[in-house]
């Protein structure tokens, strides 16, 4: 197998190298890729959409339809992990509890699990150390992380950033809680049901804005149609439409990141994990 692999790799590599002779050299400003469609986008981005970050303008407007499906791909991944891994059976092994006042860890047989009380706290089977500093630092940090994420989403028009990046940071803030405390704490903050509904809501916002444009009498995702309900001119409406879809993207990406983390780290049981 290794020999076959090596032969295939060398052959394909040689073919690829041979084909580079017709390519423009690196960084050539006159290459076809730089002068045809992309140049048009660079020239027209501000007059047509009033978004100075051309990457955002192309991503969410000129090629906004791709981005809608890109968000759908993320959604599919979240749903795929759920479908493949989620087990609705409860784990029936023994559990571990900590006596809060003394810090003693107790191993409790499966049929003698105590009712919820403030004296005992359940801990993961694969024991994680109880660390006051890590827990509190992460808890205090989480809101700032989320604030930064909102900034990244909202400032995508003027600087690198946008829905995907901001959404990932938002998701990371929840995952941080799950890692520093345990999964049950994170699930207490944002439950599985909420995550799944948010996943759908985010993409619905995106495609819903697209469908709204049809209802307002123009083509799918033609944000200029929204100028009548946003009370702005058509160019400003495009800018606002881009912001609307970025918010949708952010919500979906956040929810999917949390869902994938929860399912992967707990092998689909969503009770304890990493």
């Amino acid at each position: 197998m290794k020999a076959i692999g090596l032969i295939i790799v060398v052959l394909v590599g040689a073919l690829l190298l041979y084909s580079t002779e017709d390519f423009p050299s690196w960084g050539d400003p006159a290459s076809p890729a730089s002068v045809h469609v992309a140049a048009h986008h660079l020239k027209k981005a501000i007059p047509e959409t009033s978004v100075p970050n051309v990457v955002t303008a192309v991503l969410a407007d000129y090629r906004g339809y791709d981005t809608m499906f890109e968000t759908s791909v993320i959604f599919c991944a979240g749903l795929g992990c759920f479908v493949l891994l989620r087990l609705f059976k409860k784990r029936d092994d023994d559990s571990y509890y900590r006596h809060v006042a003394t810090g003693i860890t107790l191993h409790i047989k499966k049929d003698k699990i105590p009712d919820a009380s403030s004296e005992f706290e359940r801990i993961d089977t694969l024991w994680t150390p109880y660390d006051l500093i890590v827990k509190n630092v992460c808890r205090i940090l989480a809101p700032f992380v989320q604030l930064f994420a909102l900034y990244v989403i909202a400032h995508g028009h003027h600087s690198p950033g946008g829905g995907f990046q901001g959404g990932v940071i938002l998701g990371a803030s929840v995952i941080l809680i799950a890692i520093s405390h345990d999964m049950r704490t994170a699930l207490g903050r944002i439950s599985e049901k909420t995550v799944h509904i948010l996943m759908a809501v985010g993409v619905l916002i995106y495609s819903g804005i697209g469908a709204l444009c049809i209802l307002m009498g123009r083509n799918f995702l033609d944000y200029a149609a929204l100028s009548r309900i946003l009370f702005t001119d058509k160019i400003e409406a495009r800018s606002l439409g881009i912001f609307g879809v970025e918010v949708g993207v952010g919500i979906t990406v956040m929810a999917v990141m949390i869902s994938i983390y929860n399912n992967l780290s707990s092998e689909g049981r969503q009770d304890e994990g990493l």
């Binding site: 073919l15 690829l16 041979y18 084909s19 580079t20 002779e21 017709d22 390519f23 423009p24 290459s31 076809p32 890729a33 730089s34 002068v35 045809h36 469609v37 992309a38 048009h40 986008h41 027209k44 407007d61 000129y62 090629r63 906004g64 339809y65 791709d66 499906f69 890109e70 759908s72 791909v73 959604f75 599919c76 991944a77 749903l79 795929g80 759920f82 479908v83 493949l84 989620r86 609705f88 049901k193 799944h196 509904i197 996943m199 759908a200 809501v201 993409v203 619905l204 495609s207 819903g208 697209g210 469908a211 049809i214 123009r218 083509n219 799918f220 995702l221 033609d222 944000y223 200029a224």
Partner: protein, 498 residues
């Protein structure tokens, strides 16, 4: 409203997919009706669109209102109009027919299953309508990702087969993406029509040749063309019933469409057949694919795996027809996309119906089924006759075009492979029919399923099955109309010499 049809076909199931996945957490019983509504609307609009395209010519749609090379555009002519109609209608029929099996096999995840089902159809229809090379890649990945998840839901070997499919599928998708990158670096555009106008001066460039080879390699992996078919029988054979009968008939056919679209619209017939002269070697490969698929099918002991190898062989039919490089061959290939989707669905639905009652598809379990499940087995015979190519059914007509194309091109090996595989198919299906007709049910009950429990499937499965199997004959009878009104306008315009 009329001019929104192309986008509605894709985005309505998309919207419904999200609604279904959200609803699953609130009220589970609403999931199935919502899915039916989304799929039904999409199927209805695609039929309307086909009517519109057939009467008034190709339809274009600008997404976001941007003119073509700057934004993403849809372009629908009779070729993709026809394939969209068959994809959405068959997906709708399959949805109705497999309701019971979904409840039986994935009881606690039906909402997510239906959401993925809709997203898979969105991926396929998006591939079909789009006029943008990169948009095609994104939707290809939507369709692939959902199919990995749907296949992986099965039991037993399913996750391993799904992972193998994922490796090869990703390789295929990336090769296609690389091909698109080569086209982009040489032309600076991603719009299919724009690329087609920019390409002719570059035909001699080695980068364009590589772009073509990589696009072809990527698509061939995704469609399971013979030496690259290893993933298909395991993946489709182990998938849950509803997912198998959705993905197996549709995915490979859509990939054949992509190949034909790349050949005819983007790289033009001149480039493919006159400059590269890729026709004859590819027809040889296809003949090999047909023969190999047939031989492997003979060795199978499981009905569904046998059907999977028949798909491998059918892919060879369509690839060979497309690479023959003449009118009859291309007509046969396009017609076979249409027909093969229907007959594969018919056979997979029969297999699903049998599995629903017997919980197994090994050959010896089929004994005596003719008495227990007469309607299912009658439909199975109809599908089998169509695959073999017996006259009133549609399979005969596409095979006829393929054979006459092969004779016109002088590719006798391809003709021989077609006839060989028809004979093998005849043997295969008569073996199955013999076992299920003459075998004695009561004496072979050692498999755990009690004989008394095996009876005809519920009406919700039988009615769609009967519709599909009558469709086989109806489509066969209307072949002339389909060829003259839908296929010839595309194929004759492509500029084949013969």
């Amino acid at each position: 409203m009329n001019h929104h049809y192309p986008v509605l076909i894709v985005t309505l199931p998309l919207l419904f997919a999200f609604v279904v996945s959200g609803t699953a957490w609130v009220k589970k019983s609403l999931c199935f009706p919502l899915t039916v509504a989304g799929m039904g609307l999409s199927a209805w609009f695609s039929i309307c669109l086909l009517g519109q395209v057939a009467t008034t010519g190709p339809v274009e749609y600008r997404l976001g209102g941007w003119a073509m090379p700057w934004g993403i555009g849809y372009r629908v002519d009779t070729l993709n109009g026809m394939v969209i109609a068959v994809v959405t209608v068959l997906a709708f029929i399959n949805l109705i027919a497999t309701r019971k099996t979904v409840v039986q096999e994935t009881p606690d995840k039906t909402g997510a299953f239906y959401s993925l089902y809709l997203l898979f159809v969105v991926g396929l229809t998006g591939i079909l309508v789009t006029g943008d090379l990169f948009n095609l890649y994104v939707l290809l990945e939507v369709a692939s990702l959902t199919s990995y998840a749907l296949i992986g839901m099965g039991n037993g070997r399913a996750p391993m087969s799904a992972l193998n499919y994922l490796f090869l599928g990703t390789l295929g998708g990336c090769f296609y993406l690389l091909g698109v990158g080569y086209l982009y670096i040489m032309t600076g555009s991603l719009n299919m029509a724009d690329v087609a106008t920019l390409l002719p001066p570059l035909f001699k460039s080695s980068a364009i040749v590589m772009a073509f080879i990589f696009c072809m390699a990527g698509v061939s992996i995704k469609m399971a063309f013979f030496p690259l078919h290893m993933w298909l029988p395991n993946a489709y054979g182990n998938a849950p019933t509803a997912a198998g009968s959705l993905i197996a008939p549709l995915m490979t056919k859509v990939m054949v469409y992509v190949l034909i679209r790349l050949m005819l619209t983007i790289f033009s017939v001149d480039f493919v057949f006159v400059i590269l002269k890729m026709g004859p070697p590819m027809v040889w490969m296809s003949s090999l694919a047909i023969a190999a698929g047939a031989v492997f099918a003979l060795a199978q002991k499981n009905l569904k795996r046998m059907l999977c190898y028949i798909i491998v062989s059918e892919i060879g039919y369509m690839m060979g027809g497309a690479w023959l490089g003449n009118n009859a061959g291309m007509t046969g290939a396009v017609l076979h996309i249409f027909n093969d989707a229907i007959m594969t669905l018919c056979l997979f639905l029969c297999a699903g119906s049998i599995y629903y009652r017997t919980q197994g598809l090994e050959m010896e379990r089929l004994k005596g089924l003719f008495r227990k499940m007469p309607v299912t087995m009658a439909c199975f015979v109809a599908g089998a006759l169509s695959i073999i190519g017996v006259p009133p059914t549609c399979g005969f007509f596409s095979k006829w075009y393929l054979i006459s194309g092969g004779l016109a091109a002088g590719q006798y090996a391809f003709v021989a492979a077609l006839i060989f595989s028809s004979l093998v198919n005849a043997i295969l299906f008569f073996r199955v029919i013999e076992i299920s007709y003459y075998g004695d049910f009561e004496t072979h009950n050692a498999h755990g399923s009690s004989g008394a429990a095996v009876m005809e499937s519920p009406a919700s499965m039988l009615v769609p099955l009967i519709i599909v199997s009558t469709g086989l004959v109806v489509v066969g009878l209307y072949t002339g109309g389909i060829v003259n009104h839908l296929i010839h306008p595309i194929v004759l315009k492509a500029g084949f010499s013969g």
